[in-house]
């Protein structure tokens, strides 16, 4: 997923218009980023 797509999902969540699937997709992508970041910090 591109940054633009991720931002678009975040904006929909912020606006309260995201579907359940979109919300879950956002969290899955966010988790990938955070896991990658966590690996760098360890």
């Amino acid at each position: 997923m591109t940054q633009e797509e991720l931002i678009a999902l975040a904006e929909k969540i912020k606006a309260g218009t995201a579907t359940k699937e979109e919300t879950l997709t956002y969290h899955k992508e966010l988790n990938k980023i955070l896991l990658e970041m966590k690996a760098l910090l360890e």
Binding site: I7, A10, G16, A18, K20, T23, E36, M37, K38
Partner: protein, 136 residues
């Protein structure tokens, strides 16, 4: 160092995570979303990872980080810069945006700014992780 309750408070959220039903964040279209245990685990994982990462993303933590590790982290942050900068501006109160503007305007070195923005973005990300799924 940031305190979790203060960070959550800054975006109008509470750290408490209710059980069972989850709904859209306040101010949304109020569509109710019910998640399976597996789906809920994905959302909870976001909060867990953010709780782990946030203390390490402060300016204080950054200044004591090994140079090699910091360089890798900065590289990563720069690769996601657009995402993090954008999220840093999402706080409904405007606090996140104000913080982002202050960071950019007072930090001429882009690497340092990227790291500082990461810390700011963590706050907003945490807000999304909780606020997008739970009614605070």
């Amino acid at each position: 160092m940031f305190k979790m309750d203060k960070m959550l408070g800054a975006v109008g959220l509470k750290p408490k995570i209710p059980e069972n039903t989850v709904t859209a964040t306040p101010g949304s279209d109020a569509k109710e979303k019910v998640y399976t245990a597996e789906e809920q685990a994905i959302i909870d994982k976001s909060t867990e990872l953010l709780n782990e990462a946030t203390p390490m993303m402060t300016e204080e933590a950054m200044t004591s980080m090994e140079p090699g590790k910091l360089a890798k982290l900065v590289g990563f942050m720069k690769s996601k810069k657009e995402f993090f900068v954008r999220l840093a501006s999402f706080a409904a109160s405007g606090a996140g945006l104000a913080a982002a503007i202050e960071i950019v305007s007072t930090t001429p070195d882009i690497n340092t700014a990227a790291v500082k923005l990461a810390g700011s973005a963590m706050l907003t990300l945490l807000g999304f992780a909780v606020g997008s799924s739970y009614k605070g």
